[in-house]
């Protein structure tokens, strides 16, 4: 799994790629939490478009980041992976507890709308 971040005016954008499972979840958790703590942006946008494998352990790590973001008074948005991994996100009803967007652009667009409107 690889992680990269970009800090926009209002959001911490985290892009993950590769496999999110029992091996990679601890690192995912540690790195994203560290990035969350090191910035004061009010939104965390988690882009999983390039995640090729996801299972329930990975879903738990995603849900855990929502909890962490909320603890810090932040909002979290998710761009889910495609294929079977998307089915997992749908089954877990993650979309009921966090905003889900089709693309990073849409997630950031929402940010612009909110900040100007």
């Amino acid at each position: 799994m690889q992680l990269e971040r970009e800090i926009t005016k209002e959001a911490l954008v985290v892009r993950a790629s590769g496999e999110l499972d029992v091996r990679t979840s601890p690192e995912f958790r540690e790195v994203v939490d560290q990035w969350l703590l090191s910035t004061d942006r009010r939104r965390l946008i988690l882009n999983l478009t390039k995640v090729q494998f996801l299972d329930s352990t990975g879903l738990g790590a995603i849900l855990g980041r929502l909890r962490k973001a909320q603890e810090l008074g932040r909002e979290m948005a998710l761009i889910p992976p495609s294929g079977v991994a998307r089915t997992l996100v749908d089954t877990s009803a993650l979309s009921r507890v966090m905003s889900v967007y089709r693309s990073e652009r849409l997630a950031l667009g929402e940010e612009a709308e909110t900040s100007h409107g």
Partner: protein, 166 residues
């Protein structure tokens, strides 16, 4: 690929499936996090002898990953123990058994409920058995506290579109 080429590839796949019918694979690994990927990939390659679609192979990988992750996360709290993954074919389906000799499950019905988890880690969502059921045609769980757990799953190609299984 043209139609003739596709038909030929299908024919080869069916031939390969016939030849593979007697194939078997036994994998023994310690319950280390790195082995979830190893097990699901090995089973995916083994199962690919049957005419599974790519999404079906991905579903099988998730199911195997859940079973092996359960062994890694829950079976051996004292330190790494044995996980054995056996794969075979039966009547056009792949059958995968994932076994450990660890903690065991006291109440299997309860463990299979969505969102049930024994873990105190807040990051555990308790959907492992839900995904194993969702992505396979049949799932059996045999377990005994203190003696271990055996998960047996079965998946056939195109089972949903044919209306078989589940």
């Amino acid at each position: 690929m043209d139609e003739q080429g596709a038909a030929l590839t299908d024919a080869r796949r069916v031939e390969a499936a016939g030849a593979a019918a007697d194939n078997r694979m036994v994998l023994e690994v310690p319950s280390l996090p790195v082995n979830a990927e190893l097990c699901r990939l090995a089973v995916a390659v083994f199962a690919a002898a049957l005419p599974f679609t790519l999404p079906e192979i991905e579903e099988l990988k998730v199911a195997v990953s859940e079973a092996v992750s359960n062994c890694i996360l829950h079976a051996y709290p004292q330190g790494p123990g044995r996980i054995v993954v056996r794969s075979s074919f039966d009547d056009g389906a792949v059958v995968v058994e994932v076994q450990d000799w660890g903690t065991g499950i006291a109440d299997i019905e309860q463990a299979r409920q969505p969102s049930y988890t024994t873990s105190r880690d807040p990051d555990h969502v308790g959907l492992g058995f839900t995904f194993m059921e969702q992505f396979t045609d049949a799932l059996e769980v045999v377990s005994s506290p203190g003696r271990g757990t055996l998960v047996r799953l079965r998946k056939a190609p195109h089972s949903r579109s044919r209306g078989a299984g589940a």
